[in-house]
């Protein structure tokens, strides 16, 4: 009952129309004040260190020999880009990203269909699907490392009947076996997230539309590919975008399961190893900048290529 007096004056005076009303000025100010802490914190902890990385990347700078610090221009970048290790690790990361996201999309969609149709034990289903999501990645990595272990794992004994698997299969003995084990852990842990996003998309589709297609004589696969999937486009794209960028940052699984042995290192692992384990802050910073640019490029490509409109997807339109 306090604020409904001040409007007639401004309405009467046409010259003041262009000026923002007191109310909207105040709202503007309050809005900015409320978001300020979040914005300042985000800038301080990400933008500032990123600029610092950009600066450090131009120097030869190793913490063990700080007196040897010197300006090398783009030297670090030249070293990295001409080193095959960088390209091997980037290729590994891209392979992991593409394979895991593709597999998760298929399994996740199957899970979402089951969760959508199921009419019993919905709570039990939701609880179990959230366990891989909530579990610590390091724990998932250990669980799968032990699963594939030659002395203590059950994969070799359970799947010994498959060609190529026997009691003596060493899953950490060569590149592709180790990559497979890493990807299984990654897929296990993150499929639930994919399934839940797809389920949300699935529940947006009206049952009437699917019924109508059925009445018109569409087969099950026609209903899936012509009705259900096109109508879930936004949800699928958001899920792919989030998961692809997340998979590209893979680190925990590799650190625990192989420590990068058998050429299984990822871009993140390489960056960590240079900056923290070898104290190469200059080189590590250059890798950070390259990693950042790669993620940015990837996000841009996915958004452009798949035409993801996040604002529209969340109803900001």
């Amino acid at each position: 009952v306090s604020t409904t007096v001040a409007t007639p004056a401004t309405a009467a005076d046409p010259s003041k129309k262009v000026v923002a009303s007191d109310r909207s000025v105040a709202e503007n100010r309050l809005g900015r004040r409320l978001v300020a802490p979040a914005v300042i914190l985000m800038l301080l902890v990400t933008a500032y260190p990123m600029l610092e990385a950009l600066y450090l990347s131009l120097f030869r700078y190793r913490l063990t020999t700080p007196d040897d610090k010197g300006f090398v221009g783009l030297g670090n970048y030249v070293t990295i880009l001409s080193d095959s290790l960088f390209w091997t690790d980037t290729l590994n990361t891209v392979i992991i990203m593409i394979v895991t996201v593709a597999v998760e999309l298929v399994i996740g969609f199957a899970f979402a269909m089951v969760m959508h149709r199921i009419i019993f034990a919905r709570g039990a289903m939701r609880t179990s699907i959230l366990i891989p999501y909530g579990i610590i990645t390091v724990v998932s990595a250990f669980a799968w490392q032990f699963t594939f272990s030659i002395n203590n794992g059950w994969v070799n004994s359970w799947f010994g009947w498959l060609p190529g698997i026997s009691d003596t299969t060493n899953w950490y003995g060569d590149h592709w076996h180790a990559m497979f084990a890493i990807m299984v852990s990654e897929i296990w842990k993150t499929t639930p997230f994919m399934a839940l996003l797809l389920l949300a998309g699935l529940s947006q589709i009206s049952e009437d539309m699917i019924e109508a297609a059925k009445v018109d004589g569409a087969t099950a696969s026609q209903r899936l590919f012509k009705v259900i999937l096109p109508n879930m486009r936004a949800a699928i794209m958001v899920a792919v975008l989030f998961r692809a960028l997340d998979a590209f940052r893979i680190f925990d699984n590799i650190f625990i399961m192989t420590k990068g042995a058998q050429n299984t290192a990822s871009s993140s692992f390489l960056t960590y190893r240079q900056a923290i384990e070898q104290f190469q802050l200059g080189m590590g910073s250059a890798l950070s900048v390259l990693l950042f640019l790669t993620v940015l490029l990837l996000a841009y490509l996915i958004v452009k290529f798949f035409r993801v409109d996040l604002a529209q997807a969340r109803g900001e339109g």
């Binding site: 902890v45 089951v114 999501y133 993620v295």
Partner: protein, 282 residues
């Protein structure tokens, strides 16, 4: 018109097995004796189930070396995750309220920034943060982890909260005031109960992130003074680095998974709502 066909039953069983098999595996492994895993024990269930690993890790034996480090890490994990959660949710609530209710310039910019940070490669920051934290004496301290954890959970919290806040019928606040409630009463009795579920959901998701985080935890700490459980586990190799103490690691894994399972059991509906709130309409 929904029905559960045979396929749905098969799918149900497949999902349950998929989700719970690895969990059952580490639980089973945690009951195997250290001697059994050292000599190699490829069968799923333990030969002679034992509680020894739990006793060792929880400090119920005379040898306190493992339990001391593990319990310190557990304390760090709980403390750091809880403090980061409370602070992040507080800051995110302010921002999300502004985004959901007010018109101001730069709103889209804030949302884009949050989105960019959600996709940021955290590992790209470890080098510069390592350098900065040593200068500010934040290296290997609780605040040294709390500050970045808050930052990286803000996007998720803002995103979830603003989606929730947009659904709140804010007119009810004025309606209560018209009915004679004071502003404070209207806020406390009308708005807080409506907003609480969203805030709580954001808090759960934030806690999961902090509890799970690994890259910063191993890069910005060096001792059990601030090392969290995932970091501590990754460095816990036992006396023989080529033969890690499988069953003890599995035991540690089970212990840190218990809080996750409790939270999931209690709040599964809220978590699902929070995870999908930002992703699709409605």
């Amino acid at each position: 018109m929904k029905k559960s066909g045979v396929g749905t039953y098969v799918g149900f069983v497949a999902i349950i097995v998929w989700c719970l098999l690895p969990v059952a595996w580490i639980i089973s492994l945690s009951f195997k004796s250290l001697a059994e895993t050292t000599t190699g024990s490829p069968q799923f269930l333990p030969k002679n189930p034992t509680l020894d690993n739990y006793k060792v890790l929880l400090g119920m034996t005379s040898d306190k070396s493992s339990s001391h480090d593990f319990l310190a890490a557990l304390r760090n994990s709980f403390g750091i995750s809880l403090i980061a959660t409370v602070l992040a949710v507080l800051i995110a609530t302010l921002a999300a309220y502004a985004i959901a209710r007010l018109e101001f310039k730069g709103k889209r910019l804030v949302l884009s920034m949050a989105l960019a940070i959600a996709m940021f490669p955290v590992v790209a920051l470890v080098g510069p943060l390592f350098d900065m934290w040593r200068t500010f004496h934040l290296f290997n301290t609780w605040p040294g982890l709390i500050i970045p954890y808050m930052t990286f959970t803000l996007p998720l919290a803002i995103w979830t909260l603003s989606a929730f806040f947009r659904e709140i019928p804010w007119e009810m606040e004025q309606a209560a005031q018209v009915d004679g409630a004071t502003s404070w009463q209207a806020f406390r009795k009308v708005i807080v109960p409506l907003a609480a579920p969203g805030v709580f959901t954001a808090a759960i998701l934030t806690f999961f992130f902090a509890w799970n985080e690994f890259v910063l935890a191993i890069s910005l700490t060096s001792t059990t003074g601030a090392r969290t459980v995932p970091a501590q586990m990754s460095f816990f190799v036992g006396p023989d680095p080529f033969n890690p103490p499988y069953s003890q690691l599995a035991t540690a894994a089970v212990i840190v998974t218990v809080p996750v399972i409790i939270i999931v059991l209690l709040f599964q509906r809220k978590i699902v709502a929070g995870l999908t709130s930002g992703a699709v309409k409605g």
